[in-house]
Symmetry: C2
Subunit: 216 residues, 2 copies
Amino acid sequence: MSEFQPTERTKVHRVAQRATYDRDTIYSILDEALVAHVGFVDEDQPYVLPMVFVRVGDSIYLHGSTRARMLAGMVAGHPVCATVTQLDGLILARSAFHHSVNYRSVAIIGSGRAVEDEARALVALEALTEKIAPGRWPTIRAPSPKEMKATLVVELPIDEVSAKVRTGPPLDDAEDLALDIWAGEIPIQTSYLSAIADPTLRDGIEMPDHVAALVK
Amino acid sequence: MSEFQPTERTKVHRVAQRATYDRDTIYSILDEALVAHVGFVDEDQPYVLPMVFVRVGDSIYLHGSTRARMLAGMVAGHPVCATVTQLDGLILARSAFHHSVNYRSVAIIGSGRAVEDEARALVALEALTEKIAPGRWPTIRAPSPKEMKATLVVELPIDEVSAKVRTGPPLDDAEDLALDIWAGEIPIQTSYLSAIADPTLRDGIEMPDHVAALVK
């Protein structure tokens, strides 16, 4: 089991028994979630933007227009925080106080850097497409040189990182267990519904297996 | 239709046709999502934490331990950004470049303030519980004076705010429409699975209707 080293900035203080620095746990959360909430600072004001992302090796990759202000700040070395959260359940306790949610969350802090090498940028874009729909990349039109020029791929190394995980049932106070109140967990599930073909889809194009496989 | 006024800080520049400042749209996104990603700054480093939240009137409310560093900073007037995102679908285009997601996202910036009045704090906690499980609040044990003392409720007025919404099919380039590639949308749905009773639940306590109603 490989562990990240908590730093002064990533050590979890609140409800510290839910903290983990375990690499496998952290990577599995990053690989399941599609969206990161990326925080950056501009004139002392924090901003948080949702962005699709992918992990490749020991970094996550974001991308967007070369004209996007936030990405420009990232590659200029401004500090960021990328937080990824999967909501797993509602915790309905006997007391209002112990109501909660089950979740898995990862926060990565650090500075991004531009992926200047076009081959490496393509690897990240391919990995992102394959994360969204495994098997799709070989079937689609690859980015043109002009599209690559308009796209900024940014790498954020997974170095200073922590995770917080809550699982299991409600944790009511002992003196509340005798109360005549139902308590338990409601698991939350995210699923895909039937695909909706593009209205402009040419006649005679069948839905490929990699799309059908997404909708179980 | 009521609109928020965009400011220098909330005016959306990237893909501006997806921006909206419409109050009803913004409130419906806030009322559907359970988790906000809250960004704050500490020594120039942004941090982003997931927090459950509820909207009441023209504010959202967060809460946590009185010892939580981030909430303490909020009530000290430090600027924050609370971003809420609902992921609605995968957009599978013919070109790699036009792959995307459908989503609805709201970003509120400003400063929080402590809800000192206990009756008002209770209203926020009740609203949060009722958002998670409508009908539950009257059935549970209310917060004790000691629990209220340990809980900090923070109000963030919805004042400087913007939303971004992407809906609809892929938007491929005209010259790609003739390609022999399937394109479309995969809608994403979040649902609740069957409730899991607390292992310590006393015998003879039936699941109440408000819990059964969550799982359709």
